[in-house]
């Protein structure tokens, strides 16, 4: 008897729902979700008695196919299904082989990708897109999405319901075989996967497991994108590289007590070397063609951190240069803040403070705790621990989770002891 793989159900849920939706038609998303639920319940009823099947993935897919057939037989007179099925629904003779064909391996290959692109519908906000991806493709329940985003259940439930309605009302699933449409939607898909990863990496959830899971799901879906000839672009490679290189630091980023550990203080021996080399390999593959995306730059920055055995070995000059480039490609106050911190590292805290003060729309950072925290850290390094403490106090008031609170608290205590160090770059 083998134990089912970690998160097997969650993972298979996305694939099965994506396939059943293609068979039923996008308007029957809810019905497809019922089929998936039914398949899992079957597994739950049968596996304890007969053991986990040798190929649980195939077992679940076959069970879902049979449940889908039952639904089609039951509902064929009252609903209209996907056009491919219209003619075959009339007779049992034609129905079964048609549905079997739709569930064949070569047919279901692109289902996950198709659903991923469909979830990044232009009528949905980015936040709705990632909630929908987590819910449909990653099999997170509404509750699990809400807790991953540290958001209220009711708000997330409403957002997901609305997003599903938009998806169900779209005429058809996204056609991943049309190169022009594919290329046009790809940046939105990149963005959603990037945000999903960041939600895991920087998100407010106090649980280290949630961070790992969200980052893992984002990487997994990015790998699906890389597996498709139209999806394996330089930008996708860069995105995958940045995920691997940043995820490599996750084991050192949150300590066993659940505390956030600043980059400068991380035990670099805990960085995942395999992920680092995978990231470097992907970064190399991304370096083709004329397009230089923000993902390329962010991956390059992460690779420089990865290359430094100790914080003091970091090549800050190059990092500053990369942030300069990032400011040209995708300027934002957060990028500007990180650039200022890198300048402080390369040229001293006074220069860094000057750069922070020069950030154009810094009012947009007024609710970001790490803005005040960066000011505090640099003041502390200049020996002005009183000013530093004020800044950290301001940061404390803005913290979004107990983990962030503990982190800033610890910096306030450092002010009292007069210990300075590098502001956290994340």
């Amino acid at each position: 008897m083998i134990d089912p793989v970690d998160h097997l159900f969650r993972r298979e849920s996305g694939r099965i729902v994506a396939t059943v939706v293609r068979v039923f038609g996008v308007g029957h998303l809810a019905l497809a979700e019922d089929v998936v639920q039914e398949a899992f319940c079957r597994a739950l009823e049968v596996w304890p008695f007969r053991g986990v099947p040798e190929n649980p993935t195939a077992w679940l897919m076959t069970t879902a196919r049979n449940c889908a057939l039952d639904v089609l037989r039951r509902e064929r007179t009252t609903r209209s299904f996907a056009p491919e099925l219209a003619n075959t629904l009339q007779s049992e003779w034609t129905l079964v082989p048609a549905v079997e064909e739709l569930f064949a391996v070569h047919e279901i290959k692109d289902d996950l990708l198709r659903m991923m692109f469909s979830c990044c519908h232009p009528r949905l906000s980015e936040a709705s897109q990632i909630a929908l991806i987590l819910h449909i493709l990653c099999g997170f329940s509404v509750n699990e999405v809400a807790s991953a985003f540290v958001s209220g259940h009711a708000a997330i439930a409403k957002q997901i319901t609305r997003a599903k309605k938009v998806l169900a009302n779209s005429q058809a699933l996204f056609d991943v075989s049309a190169p022009v449409d594919f290329a046009a939607r790809l940046p939105a898909v990149h963005r959603a996967l990037y945000l999903l990863f960041n939600e895991g990496y920087h998100g407010a959830s106090p649980e280290a497991a949630v961070h790992r899971e969200l980052c893992g799901e984002a990487s997994r879906l990015t790998a699906v994108l890389l597996g498709h000839p139209l999806g394996a672009t330089p930008a996708t490679h860069a995105l995958a590289a940045l995920m691997s290189l940043n995820a490599a630091r996750l084991p050192a980023r949150i300590d066993t007590a659940g505390n956030l550990v600043a980059l400068a203080d991380q035990d670099r021996s805990k960085w995942d070397r395999e992920l680092v080399s995978e990231g470097l390999r992907l970064l190399e593959l991304s370096a083709t063609g004329p397009s230089l995306t923000a993902y390329h730059i962010e991956a390059a920055i992460a690779s420089i951190h990865a290359a430094a055995p100790r914080t003091e070995d970091t090549d800050w000059e190059t990092i500053v240069w990369l942030y300069d480039t990032l400011m040209r490609i995708r300027p934002s106050p957060i990028v500007a803040l990180n650039r200022a911190i890198a300048i402080a590292q390369a040229h001293g805290p006074e220069r860094g403070l000057g750069e922070i003060r020069a950030i154009i729309d810094c009012d947009r950072l007024s609710t970001y705790p790490f803005y005040s925290a960066a000011l505090g850290e640099l003041e502390l390094r200049l020996g002005r621990s009183g000013d530093a403490r004020e800044h950290f106090r301001a940061a404390l008031a803005l913290t979004r989770s107990p983990m962030e609170r503990r982190f800033i608290d610890q910096r306030i205590r450092a002010c009292e002891r007069g210990e300075a160090r590098l502001p956290d770059l994340g």
Binding site: M1, H7, F9, R10, S13, F40, A43, E45, W47, S141
Partner: protein, 112 residues
């Protein structure tokens, strides 16, 4: 050692894939611990929730349409020292966490 049948009745369905997987893992662990201790005679079978009922006058009807909480979802044949020992073993069943219950029925022995 005497033989007992566990009849599993009711039990709520999981609300998410992750929860489903957790429930599954609990079932696997419970069966494994029973097997390791030599309690299992026959793992048994899951049962479809409904079928046919044949009644007086050989009338065949659909059903039984028991309420969800009463539906027998499966059975297992185990052996234990006595009925209270069997009940003790049943206390480990994960169905109890989900509002279901285990009926413990001694297999009738006829000494002739």
């Amino acid at each position: 050692m005497k033989e007992y049948v566990f009849l599993y009745r009711g039990g709520e369905r999981p609300t998410s894939p992750e929860q489903g997987q957790q429930v599954m893992q609990k079932w696997m662990a419970w069966f494994k611990s029973m097997a390791d201790k030599g309690h299992i005679v026959d793992r048994g079978q899951p049962l479809e929730p409904s079928g046919k009922t044949v009644g007086a006058g050989k009338v065949v009807s659909d059903g039984p349409f028991a309420e969800a909480k009463d539906v027998v979802g499966g059975y297992t044949l185990i052996k234990a020292d006595d009925v209270s020992h069997a009940a003790e073993i049943a206390k480990g069943c994960p169905i109890l966490d989900r509002g279901g219950r285990v009926e413990v029925r001694p297999v009738m022995k006829m000494d002739m």
